[in-house]
């Protein structure tokens, strides 16, 4: 195979951090090349340089043996480099054809474009209607829009940034089929991921980045996942331990929630029911955008579902606001750390007051006791090893992992009866993720009920007693997590396992015994 793209000595520094340090590797024609690394390893910076979004401080790139200096994404696309983004670069209010046109240099007339979108999407097994508004599409369909947008330009190199994080296992299979088809047609693919099994099944070669440097290359098909993981992380991992625990009384019960969100592009929750018992961890999987945010908001009290739908320890709470629910012991930690779980420009002390005033009794006659708040903030920082210069530092100055530890710690240390978390370890480095998961398990071991909404199936399998999946606002019937196969999980995530014909829930005794 001949080489398509060669990177040599690429270095890019931002103030205070060297994002890429002397990075070099080659991608051959028709090769699927994996770029592996943890969050913050420098993958996105590298990709931005290849796609012309930033310029390297030093180093060279050659494409087809010629010097390649893309000054803009347009230039990159003209040179045959296309990219599918992790956070979609799509416009919700515009239709599919308009979205595609925006990603092309010289789009044909809208009518012709619509026709070629239909053709190409059928050819690659990714059917798509050009007239639909993107905001109404599912995450999987949105990704198709991005892929079609790239394919219409006949790329030589296709960059895919974490493409499967929004897909069900079945959809992943379809995507891989498409990618293999492209590969057979001679297109090279740079595949960015931290999911090792995927890389093992798809990629021909892997380059591993850690802290901005290339720490190794390997043939993923011949290397074990464990070896790659250790290269990626650079240390042996502490894997959370799951203590066997007795199951207790039913703490939270949700019955037939029907909820339409304010946001026109949000997901409507349909006929959603669940229960959690003391000591139990319920894992809720599902592709992003299937109602995760909405479920968290009706549980936290930010949004209200119909009355009678949410019951905490036998008490009807569906019409209560967040603080009234906190008082009763129902705490939550939303996905978005900055701007939802924490106010970015406020200090950690103030962010402690954000949710902890009620349970920790931090105010008297509506006057806040700031010194008491500060000492609780310091306690969280100490207990959860939050790396920050001081409790007075602004939330936005913390790294994602540290802020997440703070947010989870803040809720866990208020001693909740029920804790609901959404994407607790998203974008968090491996060791912080492990300690967050351990905190959730410890909480359950002490008799609280935990609902963990996540798109990371490995995480859910690791900590859950029961597993259920969200699909288009419906929740599948929860099943014992132990012994679930990937196929079964995929079917649940795809909605095949209807919530209506729920199989009988495992009895508490059985559950306790099986764990």
């Amino acid at each position: 195979m001949t080489e398509l793209l060669k990177l040599q000595g690429l270095t890019k520094a931002y103030p205070g951090v060297i994002a890429n340090d002397d990075v070099g590797f080659e991608i051959a024609k028709g090769e699927v090349h994996a770029l592996l690394g943890e969050n913050g390893a420098g993958k996105s910076t590298l990709v931005k340089m290849i796609y012309g979004l930033t310029k390297p401080d030093s180093g060279t790139m050659t494409l087809h043996g010629e010097t390649y200096v893309p000054t803009s994404p347009q230039a990159a696309r003209a040179a045959g480099v296309a990219m599918v983004f992790q956070h979609f670069s799509l416009f919700e209010a515009l239709n599919v054809a308009e979205n595609v046109a925006l990603g092309m240099e010289n789009p044909p007339k809208m009518k012709d474009l619509a026709k070629s979108i239909r053709e190409v999407s059928e050819n690659y097994g990714l059917p798509l209607d050009p007239d639909r508004t993107v905001g109404d599409l599912s995450a999987g369909e949105r990704q198709r829009v991005e892929i079609i947008r790239c394919l219409l330009q006949d790329p030589k190199l296709l960059i895919m940034d974490e493409p499967t994080s929004v897909l069900t296992p079945q959809e992943v299979e379809i995507l891989f089929k498409t990618l293999r088809q492209l590969q057979s047609e001679g297109t090279s693919i740079l595949y960015i991921s931290h999911k090792l099994e995927e890389i093992r099944s798809l990629c021909d070669e892997a380059t591993i980045l850690r802290l901005g440097k290339v720490v190794g290359t390997c043939d993923p098909k011949a290397t074990s996942a464990r070896d790659m993981a250790e290269l990626m992380v650079g240390e042996t991992l502490h894997i959370p331990t799951r203590d066997a625990k007795p199951s207790g009384a039913e703490l939270l019960s949700v019955k037939d929630i029907e909820f339409a969100p304010q946001n026109p592009f949000g997901t409507r929750l349909k006929n959603l029911s669940l229960t959690v018992k003391a000591g139990e961890v319920l894992g809720i999987g599902g592709v992003a955008g299937n109602g995760q945010d909405e479920l968290l908001s009706v549980l936290s009290g930010e949004a209200r579902a119909q009355s009678g739908s949410v019951t905490l320890e036998g008490k009807e709470v569906s019409k209560l606001g967040p603080n009234a629910r906190r008082k009763l012991g129902l705490l939550t930690a939303p996905e978005e750390r900055l701007g939802h779980a924490a106010a970015p420009n406020m200090s950690l002390i103030e962010n402690t007051a954000l949710t902890a005033i009620i349970r920790k009794k931090l105010s008297k006659n509506n006057f806040i006791n700031w010194s008491k708040t500060e000492s609780f903030a310091k306690e969280i920082i100490k207990t959860y090893d939050v790396r920050t210069p001081s409790a007075a530092a602004a939330a936005r100055s913390l790294s994602g992992g540290n802020l997440q530890k703070f947010v989870i710690g803040r809720e866990v240390m208020q001693d909740p009866k029920v804790l609901v978390v959404n994407q607790p370890t998203w974008g968090v480095d491996a060791s912080a993720a492990a300690s967050i998961r351990q905190a959730l398990l410890d909480l359950a071991a002490n008799g609280a009920a935990v609902i963990c909404i996540s798109q990371d199936l490995d995480e859910l399998m690791e900590i859950s007693d029961h597993f259920a999946a969200l699909n288009e606002g419906r929740l599948s019937a929860p099943r014992l997590a132990k012994g679930l196969t990937v196929d079964e999980i995929g079917l649940m995530m795809g909605g095949a396992d209807g919530a209506s014909k729920a199989e009988p829930e495992a009895e508490p005794e059985t559950m306790g015994a099986s764990a």
Binding site: R77, F85, S89, L90, A101, G103
Partner: protein, 369 residues
């Protein structure tokens, strides 16, 4: 009181003149907002346009040169806003307010020597053939050139947004600036141009007031028209056709006010019937459109109709109860545009049920990473 002295032809003609400045300014602001930028400085840019246009027209002796100068003046002032919000990442709301404060002060400052000056007269530009049509000719086709320019601009902007690549990029930037940036579009450049266009259009609108509608220079000559233009953009759901409708609605109100005042007819004598008439027109349109699209929703339609009739009757009662007192009537007449703006804002906001159908990035600061 002499209702008969109000001629419908003259009323329609004055309606178009009264609407044109609002239309120009609102079209410009609509483009700015479609790019995701909320510029609250319309009033300031308008008044700068008004004085620049006036001063340049007086000095050069040509109204056309004056209008060009007004557009340039408005655009230049808007660049202050562009620098603040696009390059220094200042928040848009206070920056827009600052622009208005600076604009109003600066205009009064520049305008001092021009108080009492007379601008060159702007001739009518009747449209051949069409002007001959009885009734419609004098009402619609015997205006100055700017009236037609403003209508042509409405059409051009509609076509630009709907059919051109430039329009698509503008909308894309307003919908999701991060995605537009990731695809390689120059978000900042697009926005600066949109802000400048908004400034130029506001400038034209202001100059229309000082050169044609009034025509003379006094402090605070725009008298809140810029703010009304901002409200019209919201009312119009950021669509050019509806901006035209909204601007003419307000122009109509202003023209009505002036005509009634001239004829010495109390507003409260006429308004109740106008409101009820509007209700009937609404019902007719809703039924026609609904049966055409086969989506007639009877209950809410009837409810809205009943609200129109109800408010009409209420106004009628107020009129009778106050015996058409002249003081109250004067107050109502002079504050009608502002009260109507509030009513319109409430109606449109209540309709959209809290979900704004404006550009998703409206008012948000963009920073490339």
């Amino acid at each position: 009181m002499d209702l008969g002295s109000i001629s419908l032809v003259a009323f329609l003609a004055s309606l178009m003149v009264a609407s044109t400045p609002i239309l120009l300014a609102a079209l410009g602001e609509m483009i700015t907002e479609r790019a995701g930028v909320l510029n609250l400085g319309v009033e300031g840019m308008m008044i700068i346009g008004a004085i620049c246009g006036f001063a340049i027209a007086v000095e050069s002796g040509s109204a056309a040169v004056g209008f060009v100068g007004a557009a340039v003046g408005g655009a230049l002032l808007s660049m202050l806003f562009a620098i603040l919000t696009q390059f220094l990442f200042a928040t848009q709301v206070p920056s827009g307010l600052a622009l208005t404060l600076v604009g109003v002060g600066l205009a009064s400052f520049i305008g001092q020597p021009y108080v009492g000056a007379a601008p060159p007269a702007v001739g009518k530009m009747p449209i051949p053939v069409l002007e001959q049509i009885p009734f419609f000719g004098p009402a619609l086709f015997q205006h100055d050139a700017m009236v037609y320019v403003s209508l042509l601009l409405t059409l051009a902007i509609w076509a630009f947004l709907k059919f051109t690549r430039g329009g698509l990029i503008l909308r894309a930037v307003g919908e999701n600036h991060d995605a537009a940036h990731a695809l390689g579009y120059k978000v900042r450049l697009v926005r600066v141009m949109a802000i400048g266009f908004g400034g130029a259009m506001a400038g034209l609108g202001g100059a229309y007031i000082s050169l044609i509608r009034v025509p003379q220079w006094t402090d605070g000559i725009t008298g809140g028209v810029g703010w009304i233009a901002l409200a019209i953009v919201v009312f119009a759901s950021w669509k050019p056709g509806r901006v035209l409708f909204g601007a003419y609605l307000f122009g109509g109100l202003t023209a009505l006010q002036l005509n009634l005042q001239a004829a010495n007819v109390p507003l409260l004598l006429v308004l109740p019937y106008l409101v009820m008439l509007a209700g009937v027109v609404y019902l007719a349109i809703a039924v026609a459109a609904g049966s055409w699209k086969k989506t007639l929703d009877v209950k809410p339609t009837l409810k809205t109709f009943a609200q129109f009739i109800g408010s009409g009757l209420a106004l009628l009662l107020v009129g009778i109860a106050t015996n058409y007192a002249s003081g109250l009537d004067l107050l109502l007449l002079s504050s009608a545009p502002f009260v109507a703006t509030i009513v319109v804002l409430v109606v449109i906001s209540a309709r959209s049920k809290g979900a704004s159908n404006g550009p998703a990035m409206l008012g948000k600061t963009f920073q490339a990473h």
